[in-house]
Amino acid sequence: MSALHLQIAYCPGHSWLHRLHPLTKLLWLLAGTVFVFAVRDPWIIVGSVVLVGLTFPLSRLPWRGVRGMRLTLVTALTLWLMQALLTRSGPVLLALGPLRVTETGLTAGVYVAGRLLSVVWLGYLFVFTTEPNDLAYGLMQAGLPYRYGFALITALRLVPVFEQEGQTIYQAQLARGIAYDRGGPRRFFTLARQFFLPLLVSALGKVDALAVSMEGRCFGKYPRRTYLRQVRYTHRDWIALGLLVVGIGASVLLLQ
């Protein structure tokens, strides 16, 4: 059995985007999201989608390996079609019996689908190129109280642990003749209870033990702490942030 692997997760790499500081990327993500929602020109939206899409191959990210990619495309297409077919106002471009495609409908479809694609893909780009640990440390060094930062790190730390635990429990149950591998939905609830109870007990135990362990390492003793791992800003970040400032300035002028 292959345990549940996170499909949308960090893909290690050395691209330009990988090497940016997590906060630089976070700012770009926020600015990009605001931008596509503020823009009032369908061609700019199309341009944004193309630009964001091209960033995937440029960051050497596997276009096809991404499981959510097809889902976003299908959703976007459906939204676009619905807008195109259901909008009644505006000049008619095409009429097929009761169906009428209007210019307003087409444009509205581009807005909805384009915004969805841009925002989701920007999110993917961020997640795929940012080591979550770096994000947590980056945020803490930027002033996030360390308790919140470590909540993120702890959650990350426990994911592989629970994967492993689940795997072992599953194997131990097979060894006791619990017939997962012979099917039969009738016993589903018994099986679920027999699987999740040990997992839950071990999860709660682990979380509890971890909290105490952290305290046992002086966690929470002082309101601040120091960091060995410095998530550093490099010249790339200054370039990226400079571009961002120029971009925001241009957008503000453009949108007025």
Binding site: T154, L174, G177, S202, C218, R225
Partner: protein, 483 residues
Amino acid sequence: MIHLRDFSYRFRGSKAYALRDLTLDIERGEFAVIAGPSGSGKSTLALALGGFLFSQYDGEASGSVHVNGLDARHTPIYELAEVVGLVQQNPETQFCTLTVQDELAFGLENCCLPPEEIRARLAWALDVVGARHLEHRALATLSGGEKQRVAIAAMLATRPQVLIFDEPTSNLDPSATAQIFEVIARIRAEDRITVIVIEHKLDYLRQFAPRWLHIEGGRLQERAPIFQSSSNRQHPHIPTAQPPLVRITGLHAEHERQEVLHDISLEIQPGEFVAVMGDNGSGKSTFLQCLLGLHQPSAGQLTVLGHDPRRTPVSQLARQVAYVFQNPDHQLFAQSVWDEATLAPRNFGLPEGEIAGTAASLLTSSGLHARRDEHPYRLSYGEKRRLTLVAMLTYQPRLLLLDEILIGQDPRNAEQLLTWLRERVAAGSAVVLVNHAPEITRRYATRLLFFEAGRLTLDAPTEAGFAALAAQGRRAYLPATGA
């Protein structure tokens, strides 16, 4: 350094005292070893000294516990933590971060040390435990032994005045165990740190001439353990000629595209008691998993009781082949001790009357019968371990695969488990026991398999096997010769 006065402790909902009227003084720089049966209160004492007992559990305490002048009962853990470092049994529960470097830095960062100081201490602590090469690794990729070293280094780095080790080597192979104890002795000699070690592997600690303490039934005594000579071993059972239970030719197995078993060929006959030894990560567990079909081999012939595990559902093969995992918590699924003991035979459709009879007699001889209606999670670690074995013995499997089940078991408990196994062997089953204890292998096993980096480098009758290991200079795997 450590002063206990009439200290007693009782967990909530428990009638018996976990610790009773303990009075103890340990001076700065002392090296104390606490021994005693499992469930006797050793770990409870360790938790009390670190203050964990009073914030993690709401039990009933009386008397006093002072560590370096701090009242452990009323001082926050993070204050005590600067004085006391507790290395827990399972390093996995101690890790707070994702990488070795972050882990070692964690405590120091919390104490607001400057990065240069952290870097220096980190290097020093990793050097002491011989783990400098692991500095840039992710914790998840480390072997059990490596994790334990990192856990110890992480505690060392904070330079506490008292270091408590709660069975620090229970997950380690003999070579790693010997090294860890060397490390502990060295730390203490260098820094005059007070060291308290809770252990079952007392043989290793003898050479350091520690102060011996013994806890039993929650009461503390000052007394040295009795070291058994290994000359009282029994004659191995001679297997009879029958069709083999297991036949393997040219077995290969991989784990995440890395070869973990290379060209293994062997047969296991009914009535054999096979001990499997080797360093952590040498392929022992994967070998066992292949036999029940829990791991799919990548190449080779494999027949277990006439079936190919690759083409047989695990739940069907499990009727004849029992597998007991290292951690009992992963194997307790039922709502009561009784249900747990009878779960598997019911799954296999054995007659109710027969199940009840076997389960009752096994629970009685394991001392669990009085607790048959309690939830399995309420048992102690040693009791859980016994229950997981009882749960297997109720359906009398022909082949028993046991993965390091003796970890954390005191000698008396271990003896009981091994006696049961020997009875199964006498009844014509075969036992394959992965273990790290040469004494146990010598006393119980008829045959010794030794794995090295995925290869079966030794397959011989036990005594001949030990002679071969001696010739290879693998001293850590040899039983102590006489007393």
